[in-house]
Symmetry: C2
Subunit: 296 residues, 2 copies
Amino acid sequence: VVYRGRGASVAARLGAVAALTRSVGGADYRLPHTGVMSYAADAPKIPAGAVTSEDADLIEHLAKQGRVRLHLTLTPQELPPVESYNVIGDLKGSEHPEQVVIVSGHLDSWDLGTGAIDDAAGIAVAMQAAQVMKQLGLRPRRTLRVIAWMDEEGGLIGARSYVQQHGAEIGNHFAAVESDLGAGHAMGINFAGPPQLQALLRPVASVLQSSGAGTLRASEEVGSDISALTAAGVPSFSPIQDTRFYFDYHHTAADTLDKVVLRELQENGAVMSVLSYALTNLAVDLPRSAPRPPRD
Amino acid sequence: VVYRGRGASVAARLGAVAALTRSVGGADYRLPHTGVMSYAADAPKIPAGAVTSEDADLIEHLAKQGRVRLHLTLTPQELPPVESYNVIGDLKGSEHPEQVVIVSGHLDSWDLGTGAIDDAAGIAVAMQAAQVMKQLGLRPRRTLRVIAWMDEEGGLIGARSYVQQHGAEIGNHFAAVESDLGAGHAMGINFAGPPQLQALLRPVASVLQSSGAGTLRASEEVGSDISALTAAGVPSFSPIQDTRFYFDYHHTAADTLDKVVLRELQENGAVMSVLSYALTNLAVDLPRSAPRPPRD
């Protein structure tokens, strides 16, 4: 991702007239694997593109035999921004409505496919958490806030707006959960925050063990849209997913609904539901990390 | 293949203004799986195309909800024919130079990929059969003829020319072998001809058993380019290959050299070499089927 995102400016500083990145996806179906890139202010804005791994192999092979000339026809364009929104729904807490537990995914997708695994699946399981609570007639003690983040792919635009607008209430954000690594088999829960979270999560992991999702894993970042909240000290969580096939389809034309296996999506829905039930009803406060600057 | 090849004319007779075929390949990477099609003389020549399985699913889903309108932008064009050639090399027989054993693959490929598995692999193993004989200092009793057939994809054009030009010598064609199903693990030998061929091939199968290629299987057709020879009664053979992944890549942009596993290609080279050595040196004649009209 660093090569794709910043490679063009690094190459331009060295005199390159264009930059191509070998696709980083796992599929071998000659699919270019694309995504966001940006230009540094101090370097010429040279054309940049992704080539398939097969074509990168070919270019490497030819380059060993002599000088290689490439003619690039690059069609992408960046259109002006338009107004759009995070979509937010609250299930109000009965005892601490001011305390918020976010469950979320992102609403936009990269443009080649339909975004079924990146990240409609994440939104589906976030909505599922609230839906299950309603279906079972449970009222959470804290507010469960379902968020479909807007414009993750363009640079966390919706997430940044949320933090700007809710900066004063960060202390009332009890926890944040995001699912943004597809719909693959759920194996447990990632958590970002103080190590004591692990002991507090153990009962949740026990409940999820029977669906194969009983693992707890400490992680520095658990989801890009909630990373600013994580940095602000909000205990943060995501499902641990089997991502062996995720990057075969991610940001390609093949990210379509048929890639979602219902049973595995349901496993992720179970993680989101059990975890968010626990977080909204926990009898104690969660330990929080000291705020640090958000990552670039 | 029948749907793709003849579907447009069948649909046109029923009043269709265009025909789309669901891609038949095994991959789920939103790749259209293409290939030759033709128009019947008695039907309007309507546009025809292949859609990916994902898009076919989507169209089906939408069609259940109401009328579906499609706008087609089809860019393929058929260019006028140009002169081209079968490439033929003979390793002359020491005792019966007039008797010919063909080992072959086809030289052209469908145009999206580079044709590594369809059918550069076939040509590689056909050449390997002659190369091994040279390397080992063996001179075959009959002539070993390596053929790289031209324009298989356009309708067996090179193969038809060969039969036209060599029609009088068909009786001297002792056997014909083609490899045209990729480079996957070789499991044995297909044969087309009288059932007595099976007993004659048993020693060959025994030699190949240790590389996993000891199976013998009777088949009506064993290779498209040699099908006219098969129909004329020439005993015909091909490697039995593991084709589980062949149609994932076949006739797509992803048919590139990285799909060829060297060890599996070598197994196919072993089948071609051992089989062609046996056929060129066999002490007896092979039984031949009565000629029948070639298939359409």
